[in-house]
Amino acid sequence: MIRLENLTKHYGSFVAVDDISLEVPRGALYGFLGPNGAGKTTTLRIIAGILRPTHGRVLLGGDDVHQQPIAAKTRLGFIPDRPFVYDKLTGAEFLRFVAALYGQEGDAIERRITELLEVFELTTWKDELVEAYSHGMRQKLIISSALIHRPQYIVVDEPMVGLDPKAARLLKDIFRQFVTRGGTVLLSTHTLEVAEAMCDRIAIIQQGKIVAEGTVNDLRQQHRAGDASLEELFLKLTGGAHVRELAEVLGDGAAA
């Protein structure tokens, strides 16, 4: 289970995350939605142990990420939105390095590397330096690295960015199978169709606070939205662009 307790993060006087409490049960695929700058990435980076919270704590399977970091992080796989990888390592070397960070090596890991590279169709590139990889290939490599140590929890920030449709479908299948086998996924995305189709529960965050939480049906009922899609619900809760404003922005050029 991933548990956030009164999580708060200040950057100077700016409050990026404002007293969030959340529970992602084991075996759930949980969507974390919100407009740009709402605090999603900051929250996920705190859960991954990259940032320290100003207040509150994060528990991964009962271990506090900041008090018992080794125990908590051993069970976690993190996929960031901006894939910075060591450019001068090859794909296979990078995966071997990540496995080592989790204390794993040997034949089992070599087999796992081969397996993951095959699944993500990177086998022909495995001995090429990462500097030659496209954005999508890097993203696939990072997803592979998050899976290499067989984590129990996956925290993923914008997983579909840069992926081709085939890889996006593959990732959805992987996440679905992962939770079916008892794993837990917390994903942040702007692709609302993906969230609606895949997530068991959803939290919507705005200005650092959670403004709605539950299944899509729960959200519809809570906000008396009838059969509204997740996109309509999201826009209702976070405020969407007015049609007249869009027309002004586009001007005559679009029609010409």
Binding site: R45, L51, R52, K73, K88, A100, D127, E128, L129, E131
Partner: protein
Amino acid sequence: MRVPPQPSLWRVLEPKWRTALQRIREERSRGGSGKLLILILVGVGFWIGVFGVLYRILKYFRGVEDVGPLLAGKILGVVLLAFVGILVLSNVITALSSFFLAKDLDLLIAAPVDWLRIYLAKLSETLLHSSWMVALMAVPIFAAYGVVFRGGVLFMPYAVLAVFPLLVLPAVGGSALTLALVNIFPARRTRDLLSIVALGAAGGLILLFRLIRPERLASPEGFRNLLDFIAVLRTPTSPYLPSEWVSQAIMEFLRGKVDLMPLALLWSTAAAFVTLGALLHRRLFAPGFTKAQEAAERFVRGGWWRLTVGTMLGFLPVAKREFVIKDIKLFFRDTTQWSQLILLAVLVLVYLFNIKTLPLHRGEAVGFFYVTLVSFLNLGLAGFVLAAIAARFIFPAVSLEGRHMWLLRSSPLDLGALLWSKYWVGTVPLLALALLLTGLTNVLLEVRPFMMAVGLVTIAGLTFAIAALALAFGALYPQFETENAAQIPTSFGGLVYMMATIALLAAVIFVLWQAVYQYVRSVYLGRPMVVEASMLVWFAVAAALCAAVTAASLWVGLRRMERMEF
């Protein structure tokens, strides 16, 4: 469709100068006025130093009839020629970044900005980035000429007028060379190639300059006779060299005559260069830029490092071992990193050559004292060289991990293990170099076993402390946004690190001198050499100092890394 008016050059360069201004503002708010003050003090101190040395030399020349002013002109010509050499190398490398690899290029090229504006904007950027250091260095040099030869208030503006085209020529030449190279090789390969060529050439120049022993120029008796001497001085190096035109323009002005010919040559050549450069850019930039987008395919098999270093470090936990292997691979696969070893090798050679050419062994009694003194003071000098090397190779270690901290911090890797790996990957080669430098120097100096032992043990202790300091200050003043490792040590943090290291060197040298003095005295007075208790105390104090600095630095570095946010 209506063609939009072209933006001004100033507007095209706006993101660059606004970023620079913002950086200054951020630096100010972070470090306060103290930081700025230190930078100004160091800069002014350097200027005063250069001015002072040159002032004395020129004043001496001025007093020598006939030959003096000629020699002053000659020196100016040589200095300017050296500047041009440095500028060409620096412009070639900078042009590659600004014309082909900069992040703003996609935006600029996709916008309806004409080719000439892009060329001029990027040329200005290249010129500024590669010439600012040379321009700053030129200030005290010209000031010394102006003061000694009484150039008057108009001298400095006149010097600027003469020197500016000299900065433009290498910028255009370097950019054109880069343009041609990028059309032949992929840009990333060209960068690798250029960094090796540039460093090799710089290393070669330094070595050549040292091996011809320029100090002999200071003693005219080295020449067969005065007539030969004057004949050599009167011959211009080459009438086609722009550096000679500047030198001629400056020296004529200082003699009270304004010769417009060299100025006209300089400005017309610069204008012609810019025009030709622009035409070349128009023809070759588009295909070159397209080629620059191609990544150089590099299939690599990293089995060698695993077999050697991996086997050697088999006793370590897997995370530490893989971290060390990763760092070594990254270093040797990045041409901009390993090529610096060429300069390092040259530095060591020049260092040893300097020691070898010292005129020490002339008399036994004096010889012993000076040999011991030089060997002892050499510890400080070697320590300084090691500090500079650590600044280049160990100081950036934490900064270079910045972009990958998402991976390291979200994994169960203990930060202590990270710091441990960084420390030893930097310290082991530094220690080998330190022992080699000190050992060979002492062999060349023919020191006695006691000084050899003191030298080797001290430099080993200093190396541990220097490496730890570099790592700690690198963590205290990280530069996560800088991708080029070579730029990281030139930051404020690098300066503070060097100052801290110099303070450590001074303290250790002071402490050890108390012990070495007793040794020198015993030998000088012909007494038997006995290692007394007081000597042991001083040695222990020096060792404790090095150990304390090492431990404290690593502790501070670790605490700082734990608090870092990304």
